[in-house]
């Protein structure tokens, strides 16, 4: 059997930056991201006997990393609520008395299916994510970046389903406004 060997001496050079970037998308704090990467390597060292060689060393390490990021979110949850609270921002989109948009959404002239690879837009999205409140950012990351189900998010982070829809709607609106200002309006002037 051609079992893949683990080479812990090479881990940091081979995967350190990749894992750090992956974590930074999910956890905006650089210090916390560094710590999560460190904790992941330590956990991996202690778990080398569980490495079956079925997956690549890289995906095995990323599997551990994903758990550690989720643990980080759980740790935050201990100290404060993830559910909607009165001090959360209002809907960032405003409407007039007739229920019309005050600032109308514009035609971004992009095919939603083909837009995923748009590097420039993705970079702006990363910046816009950092403008979100911690709570909204974390919920958005779990739901839309990591694809965790609504049920799991509600159960694990004690959020009422109806409040989760409100949080996601406000977060999407904030991101949409941010992208409109920093990407779409900027492009028009070019």
């Amino acid at each position: 059997m051609n079992k893949q060997e683990i080479d812990a001496n090479q881990w940091v050079d081979r995967y350190g930056d990749l894992m750090y970037r992956y974590t930074l998308v999910r956890v905006r704090d650089q210090g916390a991201a560094e710590e999560i990467v460190q904790v992941t390597f330590l956990a991996a060292l202690q778990a080398t006997h569980t490495y079956a060689g079925r997956s690549s060393e890289k995906s095995w390490l990323f599997g551990i990393l994903k758990h550690k990021i989720l643990d980080h979110f759980r740790e935050i949850k201990k100290n404060r609520t993830f559910d909607l609270s009165p001090d959360d921002d209002q809907d960032p989109c405003e409407y007039d008395s007739m229920g019309h948009w005050k600032k109308m959404p514009k035609d971004w002239r992009l095919d939603p299916e083909k837009s995923a690879e748009n590097q420039e837009l993705t970079e702006k999205l990363v910046l816009c994510l950092d403008d979100l409140s911690d709570k909204f950012r974390q919920i958005f990351v779990l739901k839309e970046i990591d694809g965790v189900s609504s049920e799991q998010i509600c159960n694990e982070f004690n959020i009422k389903p109806t409040n989760l829809w409100v949080i996601l709607h406000r977060t999407r609106n904030q991101l949409k406004n941010c992208l409109e200002i920093h990407w779409f309006d900027g492009k028009k002037q070019e």
Binding site: R21, H100, Q119, E123, D146, L168
Partner: protein
């Protein structure tokens, strides 16, 4: 008859303010048939809300792609050198 038609139309007719949260909600779970019908009717008449729906779709696709392990974003972000040294020492000590 006309009165009935008008009240039916006003019942079916959502404002943009009503529709916007429903468009978002639709991305997260199935909505009832009636709700779905109301959204469709509004979207057939309102180009602006259609743009909004597209924008949310674009944000979703970008986010999913951003979640990939090898996505080349933050390409300039590297694990700080002192952190790397610290982790290497830790690995050496715990092998």
């Amino acid at each position: 008859m006309e009165k009935m038609m008008n009240s039916l139309l006003s019942w079916l007719n959502l404002t943009c303010e009503d529709t916007s949260p429903l468009i978002s909600e639709m991305m997260d779970h199935r909505v009832s048939f009636i709700k779905g019908l109301k959204i469709k009717i509004h979207l057939a008449m309102c180009e602006v809300c259609l743009y909004y729906k597209e924008q949310l779709g674009i944000i979703r696709n970008l986010s999913q792609n951003l979640g990939r392990e090898d996505f080349p974003v933050n390409i300039n972000a590297t694990l700080p050198a002192e952190s790397k040294e610290k982790i290497k020492k830790m690995i050496e000590a715990n092998k």
